[in-house]
Structures are given as C-alpha cells and as structure tokens.
Symmetry: C2
Subunit: 552 residues, 2 copies
C-alpha cells in the first residue's frame, strides 16, 4: 500500500475526541470538517513551565530521502504508546511542491498525520489566507500609484512581490500594468511562492493578533523617490491585511494514524525563510503536552540554525533535545554513491558520508543542547551498516538509535523514544551563536564559519551597498535569515559531505521589517519553484465518490 | 448601528442546530467553525417534487442601490416567521469587491446572513480553491510549453488566464515568462477576477463530481499551431484540477439573523458570467425546503435571463414566482434625478424611471412566470411615491408590495411574503426564450430584441471570424452568456430607463466548453475590476481580540 491508501484505510477519531483527550473544551476549538479544528487562543489553562521541547532536524537532504516528518510522527506515536502526554507540532505543506515534484508533506507509511489529503491540499485555508492578504497588499500598492501616488512610491523600487501557492516559473519575472493609462503603471514585478511571503514568516513569529498587526504595520513594501522606506503603515491598510489573517493565525489540530494529537501550523520554507512552524503552535504544544516534538526544515544548517537563532528568542524556550535524522542511504550519497547503487552495502562510503552527520551533530552541540541521532531505517540497510553508524556516532559522543517508522509506526520507534525521553532530562544551558547586538556582518560570519564550516564571506556590490543603507536606517542589528541551498553546507549544491575551505557569496539582502530579520541571499536560491517535466499532478485523480488517488 | 455591528450583536445558533432543524443528520454536514458547515451530497432523502422555487431579481442597478440580497433574506425571514419550511440560496461574495468599493454581499441591516465577516472574507475557502485550481492549470500549461511542448501549443493563442479574487487592475495585461530560457517562454497574459473563471461557472453548473470532471476535461485552454483546440484532457491533468475542488463543490450552510437556514454557494459575476449560485445549492434548497428562494445577479436582463436560459435547463426546474426588487430612489435615478437629490419627493421622475421596472416585468412575463414587485423601502420614500409605484405596477398587471427589510428584518416583509406564497400557486407553463437548436446569432438576436429592447446586433470582425470557427468546431449551438454592463438594458452604461433604438455591439466571444456556453463580450466589460481611490480596505480594522470593524 502507498501512503494515501494507508491513510484512507485508517479510521480517524472525531477531532472533538482528540481535543477532549488533551484537555480542550468544545469552545476551545472550531472544527473544520470532522477531522480538523482550529484552536482558539489564548487557552484558559494554568501556566506550565516544565514541558520538554524536542526539535527534530536532519542531515543535509539528498535525493535518497531522510524522512524527517515521518520520524517526527513516528517518534510522537512511540511516546504516545509509552503513555506520555505528547504533542506533535509540524509545518503546513505547500501546495506548489505537492503538485510538482515533492508530493505531500505529512509523513509516510505508518507514520502519517491525517486526513493527509486535506492537509496536503487546502487544509484549513491558512495558505490561501496568506496568499490573499499578500496580494491584496500588492494591489493596494499599485492602486496607490495609479490614483495619484501621494506617497511618491518609486515604481522601480517596490520590494513587495505577489505570491501564489503554486510552482509557476513563468511568474518569476513579469511586467504588470500594461495596456494604457487606465490599466495601471507598467513596471517589472515577480511572483514568489506563498511560503516565501514575509506574511508567512510574520504569522509564524507573531505572539498574538496585536503582535501580528504591529509586525504587518512595519513591513517595508517599497522606497519612495527619495529612497526612504514606505511601510504598510504609510499606506494605512494594516487593519485590512491583518483581518484577512484572523483565522489563519489560529493553530490547527489534527491527529496521526495512531491518534496522537498534532498541531500543524505555518510553513515557511527553510531555504528562503526561517523554516519553522509557528511560535503559537509550538507554545500550544508545550502548553497541552508534557513533551512537544517539532521540526525545522531541511538540514540542521538551515532549519535548526534558524529555529535556534531566530525563533527561540521569540518563543522564549530552547529545545531540551535535538534529534538529527539520518538514513544510511543518504549518508552513502554524501559519501559519493550514486542514486542507482544505494541498495548495495557500502560501509566505506557510509564512513565518508558520515562527515555530513558529524558536522550537523557538532553544530547542534555547539549550542550546548543534547543530541540524539535517529537512524530512519530502509529495508536495504544492512546490519553492518547500521552498526557502523551507531559506532561512528558513539565516537563523537552521541547515541544513534535505529527506528522503523515507515513500516511500523510508533512501534518502530520505541527505543528512539526512550532514548529521547531520557535525554530531555539532561541538564544543559543554551549557548547562543551570536549576540543580538552583533552587526549583520558578524552574525553572518559566525553562521558561515561555525555552522557551515566555511572560511570566508564575500559580498556582491549590491549587498555591500545594502549593508551601508541598513546601517543608516538602523536595521543592521536584525537577526539574519540565510537563504541557501539545502543540499550542501556550502552555497554550492554539489558539495556534499562536510566541505571545507569554501566561501559563501552574499548576492543581495531582502530586508524583512515585519518578520524582523534580514534575508541574506546566497548563490541562486529560487523564491518561486518550477514544475518538473512530468508533474505529480499528472498522476492524481478523484473518483465519482470523491475518493482521491495519486497523492503521496 | 451599521451592518457589522448589527451582525455582531446577534446571537447565532450552532450550525448543528440549524442543520438539525431542516432534517439533516450530523453526518450530512461538515462544520467549518461553529456557524458554517459544508453539506455532504447526495443527501439520503426521499425525492421531493412539489417544492416552490422563487427567483429574486431586480431592476437595472444604480448607485442608489436596490438591495436584492437584503430583500431575499428579509423575504426568507418573513416566510420563516409564517412557519413555512423555507430555504434561502445565495451566491458567495467575491473578496475583490469587498476590499474595493462594494463592501460585503450578505444583505444589510436586520436582513443579513451571518457570520457576515466570515462569509465576506474567506468563508469556507471555495473561492480560494477555485483560484488555486485555475492557476495550477495555468502553471501546467506554461510548464508543458517549457518542457518541450509536445502538444504544439501556440503561446500566442492561450485563452486560459490566471485569476485572483482581488480587484487588481495592474494584472489585467501582463507579460509572463521573462528572464531567460530557464524562466519560461515569454508571452502576453492577463489575470481575471476569480468569479470570472470558467471553473466558477463549471462549479455552479455541475450536477456532481462526475459532471464536474467531465466539464473540466472539456475546457479549451489554448489552440495549437494548426489552430486546433487544446483541452485539459489533452494535458492529462483533469484529475488534479478536479480534486482541488472536492470540498468547494459542496454547498455551504449558514443562517440569517433570524435563524432562517441559508445555503450560500458559488458566485459567478452576472455581467461577465452566468451570475447564479450553484445548481447543487438550489437543488439542495428545494430538497430541504417547501420554498426555496434564490437570487440572480444584477438586473433581470442579466442574472434572471441567464438563470432562465442557462441554469434552468441544467437544474430541471423553473421558478414558480419571480420577485423583482425596485427602490423608489433607484427608479427616480432612472427617471433622471441626480444622486444628490434622491431625498426629495419626485413623482414625475418616478413615473419616467418606472419604464425600467416595466421592461423587466414584461421580460419576465415573457417567460410566462408570475411576477411580484418588491418595493425595498427607504426612509425618505413618501407615501405618495410608494402609492404611485403600486398603481403603476397594477396598470401592467403586477402586485407591488412595500417591504422594510433593512429596518425590520422578516417582520417588515410579511405582506410581501404572503403575496409571494399566494403567487407560487398560480398555474403557468414556462416558455423558453430560445430553442437549444437555434444558432448563436439567433440566440443573441432573441436576447437583444426581446429582453434588452434593442433593434440591432453588430459583430466586430473578430467576433464574426469566431462564429465561423465555432461553426466548424460544432460549438455554434451552445447557450449564450452575454457579458454586458449591468447599468443599462443596452451596452452603454449611461442609457438609463428603458432605452430603445439601440444596437448591441459584440466585440468578441470567449468559448467556454467546460461550462458549455459562449460568452459574448459587448462593449468594454472588464473581467478584472480595479480599486477606487480610497478602497474599502482603508476603513477596515481588527482589534486585539480579533473583532473586526469597517466591513459593510
């Protein structure tokens, strides 16, 4: 059976029952269909300070797959089986990749969150609300210019792009406003994917509606003819943009195949944004569970670094344990094995590829947080390979625990769960990577040298000029959100393993005054993906009774 | 109190209770929040043949307002007060106009459907699902060309446009695919508003998922280099586009301020599309009520004509009574009074402007359906004016009944309700305007001469050429969906009242093989509205507790 067939055979509990089991009253939730609900915040619950936060991250991804979401779900199910009060907190899938190459993002096999079709498609409409709010703002900007341009917005310097939750390369670079004076002012523009919208980052960092409004108010959308920033506040539409997100800001409750409660909310990409689910979702999971398991996108150099350096200061809580997911297959690819030879035992390649895992482990240990390695098992893994990985991990002081979550669900991750639970009790003190007061250059240098293992940072002329501008505007102390390929610790997707002696090239910055960070674009990171030759969409279908097939 | 304040003071019943009152089991609905629900079709109910269908339409709209939705809701509430089993069936508002000029579309005063904020904003996500499905198809078309163009699609002849549910004039005419060979093939393109998407029309005409798929399969999206049509079927993505609409196809259940059940589903504009809510919603209302009250967009020349000529053949049921909404104010504007002088009594102007109402009444009588005129009362209306309108109506054989639905809700429409109930019992036999077999030119001529009162139809060269092409392709017998200004019976918005001796100019056709009609574009009907100088968005706000203001 494939993922969707397993999910469809599963019998879900009504979402009211799941809510009830975790101590939520009927009035605390708003059902969306029978198996999804929005959680009304703030919850009227006593403060809870001793919940444990577990962050699941991974090695640098390869086409072999690492299965971070699947392990997160399986680990949660295992802890649930061990009668722990556990909450899973995941990101929402983006529909673009679902229709494109990636397929769904709800775990796999017997470790899935359900209803998988709904979560992968429109879910509770959060992405659509973000798309609408983003594009309403864009229309209001162009309309302002058309109607007299009182703010003297320079149409060559509008930085607020339109978005769609679709992989649509034809929209990367467009010209809008054509057709004559009644159709607007012609200008160059472009569309990003919705998960790259600053509004997504804001939604994921906002502590409440007040904070959401305040952040939206501060978004810089353009510069005027004097090169001074123009904000949403200047346009006077903060209220309209905020109210379009009134439901989207509420975390969504669903369940796993084994009825473990899961909060799924927010989903910025980790290569072009900060890559973690919402602060409100993580807080809710911590409030409702004794253990909250959450994940951060792509490899630990991207998602986890941003979780620790960008999200943690807002969340006010650091992880008690970091789980790094690795697969034998992926490590062999990092060791030079081609995708077609992955089924063959190759201990030597595994040893070489281990360098990638080792670097990520050391990076997380740098923050002084206990680490556990989860070996996400595939059927072709040999005992010798698994034992080698356990031994290599032990040499650098971490436990590596095999788990068969795809094939067995929670049952396959009992050992991993026990090790993680044990590890969350270790006493440790979080050690931040950089100080809030560090300059942008210093922050970037610390990320590049300490986390990526690079030797140098090179700024393109445009980036240098922007840094001078940020200094003048007082934006130079904001946290840094690196936009970098996920496939390598460097900014060159082809350098696998743990490359050294490399330079990171900062092409340009995107200042995000609403999310309150500076995005540093390295290499050529795309903010709007394209579709492959044969998109996943071509295999999808729905029968006359509404049953969906071909969604993975 | 304004509309939103009245709505917010109202105490809604849980949607489960509303469902229960109309005979729906808990498994028949999927709640979306506590006050909205999707209805799962088909319903397991005995067939019902004697329900009465009431269609609410109006005179040609003026800036003075006619209040069609408000009267529909008030009439429903009045029949509810008279202990009739009544269901209201309305269209879903489009967010673009809500943020632009029009404000909400959920009735007004004490005749509203609620929760008005949700219905006017994202509701249950139907518009967003349509936007996503529409644009996913667009991305798949451009991707097909980029990936080798096996179908030999002529990028100059792609007729599938992208859409957003936003008033965004800057997107009317765009160039996409710029930036070099990796970013797609450059071409001219444009965005329509979502309610103008063929998928919206399809959703509103589809009888079930099977019909939905079959219609989507047949959509013509482009022509190839040999000028042969390319369909969604050719692209092989019917399943993917259909499954994106799996929830959107289910009608939405809400309530009025007086707890009358209302089904709100689908919302194609009536000037550029067929302007009625979904066939499934109307059928559901007929199945659950003894009386189903529905409305059609803009004036009777647009919405009602399309209801009777396009929707009725699919629905398999014709209205038992047509209610034409008129206001004294609007008729005075049709009689030449300027907007600033509407508060002054002017019986002469009313008599002149009555010509507009008279023409609409005669048009509906042409179909052999009993007509009732609803006088939607405003405070400045004088007794003499109201009596004049009643008398003028009597002269042409119809009852005109005043109703104060804004100020009094259902109580204000008891007389109207009694007259409508009485009228639905009149024996009559529907007389179609044209035969299915008539050519496109014949159908257009019958609409123009009989309904609009015009003398002539003029086809632009492009339209003539298209008619020849349609003949060759076998599309010439499809029903006609006129795209015309709503402000006049002619295609010149400035000709108020009941103009005569005018020519209708057919500029171009949009063949819609999925919705199965030909859109005939007259004059310059915009398929993407713009925002006004001070958009409604500028007055909207949300407070720290999530309470919205400034939405009308």
């Amino acid at each position: 059976m494939n993922d969707i067939e397993i999910a469809q055979k599963n019998v879900m509990k009504p979402i009211e029952d799941i809510a009830n089991e975790i101590g939520l009253k009927r009035t605390d939730i708003e059902p969306y269909g029978n198996f999804k609900a929005k959680i009304n915040l703030p919850l009227d619950l006593p403060e809870k300070k001793d919940s444990k936060l577990i962050l699941v991250t991974a090695i640098s991804p390869t086409p072999a797959g690492e299965g971070k979401s699947t392990v997160t779900v399986g680990l949660g199910d295992a802890m649930h089986r061990l009668n722990k009060k556990v909450m899973i907190a995941l990101r929402e899938p983006s529909l673009g990749p679902v229709m494109g190459m990636k397929g769904g993002a709800t775990g796999g096999g017997y470790s899935q969150v359900v209803p998988m079709e709904d979560i992968n498609l429109h879910f509770t409409g959060d992405m659509h609300a973000l798309t609408t709010a983003n594009n309403t703002l864009a229309a209001l900007i162009d309309n302002h210019i058309q109607q007299g341009n009182d703010l003297k917005i320079d149409q060559r310097r509008i930085i607020w792009k339109r978005v769609l939750d679709i992989n649509d390369r034809a929209l990367r670079n467009v010209v809008v406003g054509l057709g004559g004076p009644m159709q607007g002012v012609p200008r160059e523009d472009g569309f990003d994917i919705t998960v790259a919208s600053e509004l997504m980052a804001i939604l994921c960092l906002a502590k409440d509606i007040k904070d959401l409004k305040s952040r939206i108010n501060g978004i810089v959308v353009a510069y005027n003819y004097d090169k001074k920033p123009i904000t949403v506040s200047d346009l006077g539409v903060t209220g309209a943009i905020s109210l379009l997100l009134k439901d989207a800001i509420k975390p969504n409750l669903v369940q796993t195949l084994e009825h473990t409660p899961a909060v799924i909310h927010g989903g910025p990409f980790a290569n072009i944004a900060h890559g973690c689910n919402s602060v409100l979702a993580t807080q809710t999971a911590l409030q409702l569970g004794d253990y909250a398991i959450t994940e951060a996108g792509f490899g630990a150099d991207l998602g986890a670094e941003k979780f620790l350096d960008i999200k943690t200061p807002v969340l006010g809580k650091t992880p008690d344990t970091i789980v790094i997911v690795a697969t034998i297959r992926a490590l062999k690819m990092h060791g030079g094995v081609s995708k077609t030879d992955l089924e063959l035992e190759d201990v030597d390649a595994l040893k070489v590829g281990f360098s990638n895992l080792k670097k990520h482990v050391e990076n997380m240990q740098r923050y002084n947080i206990p680490v556990v390695v989860a070996i996400n098992k595939f059927t072709a893994d040999t005992n010798l390979e698994v034992q080698t990985l356990i031994d290599l991990s032990a040499e650098i002081g971490v436990s590596a625990v095999p788990a068969d979550v795809w094939g067995q669900g929670g049952t396959g991750a009992i050992d991993l769960a026990n090790k993680v639970i044990e590890t969350t009790s270790e006493v440790h003190e979080f050690k931040a990577l950089y100080e809030a007061d560090d300059s942008a250059e210093t922050k970037i240098e610390k990320i590049v040298k300490t986390i990526y293992g690079g030797t140098n940072v090179e700024y393109a002329p445009k980036a240098k000029q922007q840094l001078r501008q940020f200094n003048e505007l007082g934006w130079d102390k904001l946290p840094i959100c690196m936009a970098k390929t996920q496939y390598s610790l460097s900014d060159n997707a082809k350098l696998l393993g743990a490359p050294t002696d490399f330079t990171i090239h900062i092409r340009e910055f995107n200042p995000k005054l609403g999310s309150q960070f500076l995005v540093a674009l390295t290499g050529n990171v795309l903010t709007m993906p394209g579709l492959p030759k044969v998109p996943a969409a071509n295999h999808m279908d729905i029968d006359d009774n509404g049953v969906i097939s071909g969604l993975y």
